[in-house]
């Protein structure tokens, strides 16, 4: 009988959700280099090998200052890592990339060879959204890779619902927007109206290089170079597309659920 077999099969398989964040994070695929690390000290005097190679001019080396790598514009293609003769730019394999402020994404200065990870929301918003966050996803142009990866979080393996985070149909029910894509001119009005439709207090999360700084479409006349231009963004998750683990880490870090479970594992 159909129902009987389905139930037995389901019960046999048991829970397929990963232990993360309580348990260890799933391994990243080897092609995914993880976060980048910039040690400007190793740079030779007038070497600009990495600047020429970067497709979205994420790496800049102004004449008198040290090299600066803007992870917001970076597509993580790791060309610069290969091109750098002295190994100033290296891949750390760390999946944690989410930051709260746009300037935190710029590496290279003395203090910040690596990313300063996103802190928790301010106390009022945290207490409100800590256990129940409903997001309205807006695809503002882009290649749909970030949407696919965000969607993966809903599957039984990642199971975003266990954190109380849920994607809803109507912005009226939502607490925030999760924006993907470079916000094309066509989608500007839709994005504005969706943001206006979300009741206060609300947050905005920009996922993927496009949403942060326009990604591969940066500078195109039909594109607004990311959501930051139109809306106040609370969380930036770089990557093209960011790995589901990175997005999940960003979300639960934002809600302060990470230390909580992190504390559990010490």
């Amino acid at each position: 009988m159909f129902v009987h077999d389905t139930l037995l099969n389901r019960l046999k398989r048991g829970c397929a959700t990963m232990a993360y964040p309580a348990g260890p994070a799933p391994a990243l695929p080897e092609r995914h280099g993880g976060a980048l690390r910039v040690e400007a000290a190793k740079c030779q005097a007038d070497c600009a090998a990495c600047v020429a190679v970067c497709p979205t001019e994420a790496v800049t080396r102004p004449p008198d200052r040290r090299v600066a790598l803007d992870l917001g514009r970076c597509l993580f293609c790791a060309e610069c890592v290969k091109a750098c003769p002295t190994g100033a730019i290296t891949q750390t394999g760390d999946h944690r990339l989410a930051v709260r402020r746009r300037e935190d994404l710029v590496l290279g200065e003395a203090g910040n060879e690596q990313l300063r990870l996103a802190g928790v929301l301010d106390e009022k918003l945290r207490r409100l959204f800590r256990r129940s966050l409903k997001l309205r996803q807006v695809s503002a142009g882009g290649c749909n890779a970030c949407e696919a990866d965000t969607n993966v979080l809903g599957t039984i393996g990642w199971d975003l619902g266990r954190f109380g985070i849920q994607f809803v149909a109507s912005p009226r029910h939502a607490d925030g927007l999760l924006i993907t894509g470079p916000v094309s001119k066509n989608m500007e009005l839709a994005l504005q109206k969706t943001y206006a439709a979300v009741p206060e207090p609300r947050i905005v999360i920009a996922v993927g290089a496009c949403a942060i700084a326009g990604g591969p479409f940066v500078g195109h006349p039909q594109v607004h170079n990311g959501a930051g231009v139109l809306l106040p963004v609370d969380l930036f998750i770089p990557g093209c597309p960011p790995h589901p683990l990175t997005i999940l880490d960003g979300l639960i870090r934002l809600l302060g659920r990470l230390e909580e479970s992190g504390r559990k594992t010490g």
Partner: protein, 313 residues
């Protein structure tokens, strides 16, 4: 009707309803091999909605703001008329099963009007489908109630429960089994469960119950969701305490009997929730115009129940 029983049942109603829908969501997740939200997640959602601001559409009139309160209060009032733990329900004098069905219809009436008010296409679609399907479900519900009321010679819920409780063989009586099956299908239709409507869908075109709430936000949405879960609890309690009144404490019951009755009630409630979860996870949503066939099947079941009241004894 004594005040403490009333207040206690009101609190039980308010606290238990979100828990039941949370448990159903959690068990559904478990059956889909994922951990899923914790059963008390619904409380967090409700608390958050209450705290949030509201965005109200410019086209709405006073009916939009009035509807959530009617939905919430009518659901609560039906809860007080249904015996949950103690046999004569606190407000059983104010109305029997006909008043319960009437109040649920009142809530649905204003819910549909709330859907139509903001002049959005989704709201109209939700209202139209909700009213259509509930109209088709009504005769099956009424005939099942009639079957039980006829054997109990009364429309008072406590009387029905007593008459079923008095004769134990009544539980296996074919009339009761068929009526229970019909009522179970109507329960799925009324609370918008999978075969009829998918509560967790994002696609507005397939929504029925959810489409009417698309325009609500903040505390209005909280009252609507809470009312819906109270209505679900009321219908489940109606189903349980009329067809399986085992352990239901009689009028003069002491604290111990009440305790047992509460436990029995919770156990039965979890059993019914399990049944609902199994149905939801193993079935797909029916196409809109296949649902009337399901509901007319329920009507046939109820008619068979009626026939068997006097064919078999």
């Amino acid at each position: 009707m004594n005040l403490p029983a009333l207040v206690l049942q009101l609190l039980l109603l308010l606290l238990l309803a979100p828990l039941v829908s949370g448990v159903i969501k959690n068990w559904k997740a478990k059956l889909q091999n994922r951990r899923g939200p914790r059963p008390w997640q619904v409380y967090f959602d409700l608390a958050k909605f209450l705290r949030k601001d509201m965005v109200i559409s410019e086209h709405t009139s006073w009916v939009f703001g009035f509807a959530p309160y009617v939905v919430f209060l009518s659901a609560l009032l039906t809860g007080l008329m249904v015996p949950m733990v103690h046999l004569p329900a606190p407000l059983s004098l104010f109305g029997g099963v006909l008043a319960v069905v009437g109040l649920l219809a009142l809530g649905r009436f204003f819910l549909a009007l709330g859907g139509l008010d903001p002049a959005s296409a989704f709201g109209g679609m939700g209202s139209s489908r909700e009213m259509t399907l509930s109209a088709i479900a009504e005769p099956a519900l009424m005939l099942a109630i009639f079957t039980v009321a006829i054997t109990a010679k009364s429309t008072d819920l406590s009387q029905m429960a007593l008459s079923t409780q008095s004769a134990t063989w009544k539980l296996l009586n074919p009339a009761h089994v068929l009526a229970f099956a019909a009522m179970f299908v109507v329960l799925l239709a009324e609370t918008g469960r999978i075969p009829v409507d998918n509560p967790a869908t994002h696609l507005e075109l397939t929504m029925i119950h959810e489409a009417m709430l698309l325009e609500y936000s903040g505390r209005h949405l909280a009252f609507m969701e809470w009312g819906a879960s109270v209505k679900q609890l009321v219908l489940m309690t109606l189903l349980l305490n009329v067809f399986f009144p085992i352990g239901l404490a009689g009028p003069g019951a002491g604290a111990a009997a009440l305790g047992i009755s509460l436990l029995a009630y919770l156990a039965k409630l979890l059993a019914l929730s399990a049944a609902v979860v199994v149905v939801e996870t193993t079935n797909a949503k029916l196409r809109l115009f296949r649902v009337p066939d399901l509901l007319s099947a329920a009507f046939v079941l109820a008619t068979l129940a009626l026939l068997s009241t006097f064919l078999f004894h």
